[in-house]
Amino acid sequence: MREEFSTHPHAHRRLAAILAADIAGYSQMMGHDEEGTVRRLKHVRREIVDPTLEEHYGRLVKNTGDGFIAMFDSPLEAVRCAIVIQQSVAARNTGLPRDYWLQYRMGLNLGDVIVEPDDVFGDGVNIAARLEALAIPGGVYISGGIYEQIKNKLVCGYQSLGDEKLKNITDPVRIYRVLPDPVSFTGATKKRPSYLIPAGIAAAFALVAAGLYTTGYWPVGGQTNLVSIERFPQWVPVPLTSVTNQPAPSPRVEPTTGNTANAAKPLAPSPDPPPAAPASDPQVAILAPSLPAVRMIQTASGFRDCETCPEMIRIPGGSFRMGSDEDPSEQPIRTVTIAPFAIGLSPISVAEWNRCAAAKGCPFALEGSETAPARNLSWLDAKQYADWLAQVTGKPYRLPSEAEWEYAARAGTSTRFWWGRELEPGKANCRDCGASQDPKAPMPVGSFARNAFGGADFGGGVAQWVADCWVANYRDAPSDGLPRTAQNCRENVLRGGSWRSNAASVRPASRTHYDTGVRYPAHGFRIARSL
């Protein structure tokens, strides 16, 4: 309801970060395929733009045909939001032919604007709109005002495009283009200075050298850490964290072809920071002379990296909606993109754990039935097993991230439970899950039906440690499938519920937490491996 008479003599003004966005080449695409384009745009709005705006405390002010204008209190959140949207849209475009790509151009400005319930006016808005018109498809252009606010807070590259005199704006505006990563200068930009290409190549060499050094790839002997990396055409998923001593997961960077002369192999990203013992380099130890025979053995459901290694199943890459409406800890729901990886068919069993203990990779052996899931383990115990397995096989074993765990558990479903909406006996091992279950102990590994990816024990049994540090909700959580880590993490995330839990805890979205170094009888883990 508009007030007829305002108590203030002036129009309602405030300082805000304005994001103007527009689809590049929309009319052309509409010409080709009207219905398809409208449908795809609707999906992008509903699945990427709206949730991302909400996560970053943005408000959609109005729609402008195929684009929109949004308003934020915080310029930092506005730029983060823009980057996340562009990355998510780029991820969605990767599977499609070029003609079907929906790409936003985005312009951001910080200004004093006039605000009305469903519109916003002023030079502040016009500047954002002009920047948007100048931006390349998939690009984010920011004004000097925004840049000044975020330059020391948001770590990414910024390319100054100089001062532009914009139509109907009195003073020239300093424009910056936000760079996904300094290496990918492959996107055409008319104003690219000629020395940036050699600078980019030099940067790429430095990156590759740093990456090879830190991941310990030495071209000696037979052991290598070859992994395949998905390539995103323009935007590379970039962790939006400010530079502190946080463990930074190696982003998936593929240097442009001209730079690979020295580096014939891609980088080997390991989503977990490598163990930090400064006194020794664990990666070098992989090449220690006496190792058991390591060769991949195919199994009915997946593979093993050695005869006695845990059985792994391959999980295809893709995107999914992570979270649910049922609990604040599972919100906000957002789209997460997962690169292909492998995960244990089941949680690690007592037998598998005891092999680690016998090899002195783990500090103690467990008692009890060999086919029971290994439990009464802390997160540190689980990590120790993963590090041992990685060392022994030379393969990138680790704990799964919570996004990977949920993605693997759901196996393409979005229902309340991975098998459907209601509880069904025989699907999970929990207190009210039906069927006869031992109230004092979990069932043996692999006792229950498998999900569509072929994985077992994704509901109940032992609650499974994942790599992530516990945060009470998904605000600012990564959308690229990597774990959320923090310095001085004291609590980590557990997934799946246990044989003692209620039914709500065996939903794939359910998450809980526990002290990092403390053991509890119902806690175990399953292992993951980068491919």
């Binding site: 943005g58 109005k62 990414c156 495009l161 300094p182 430095a206 962790p239 930090a276 170094g517 053991r519």
Partner: protein, 169 residues
Amino acid sequence: MGRSAGCILLAFAVVSLLPGGTLAQTAPAPKPSTPQRAPAPDARLYIIFPWDGAQIRGEFWVRFGLRNMGVTQAGSSAPNAGHHHLLVDVTDEIDPDEPIPTDNKHLHFGAGQTEARLELPPGKHTLQLVLGDPEHRPFKPMLISKKVTITVLPVAPARTSKKVSGKGS
């Protein structure tokens, strides 16, 4: 034409830190299960804050009190010591023979913490402490505090000039 604002390279050099320097060492191997012990006869377990009947707005610290016994880490068999568990809105009896369950109503403090920050939705809530042994089982007889009932008041809406919502108005 402008100069290239120095590209801030992301920290590709992987500065890896094990979470929590002091936690980097795993605890000693778990000892075989021992029968449940008795607490000190004059031990008292109590909630220092909030008091019974308190009205609280927003997040708050619950402070745990323990008299004539000590707090240690879970898994440690130090004599005359245990670790805290906080029950939030729990109506069922705690099973005296089993390890105390862990979920969002049964909070464990196995690292030896003596206070916790809680955020509860508005309304009445109950809080109660139970002391656990190295294997998270209660002592026999159970050392449990009085149940404290508090009222959480709604937080006043923040004063912003525009309602922030992800949807268009």
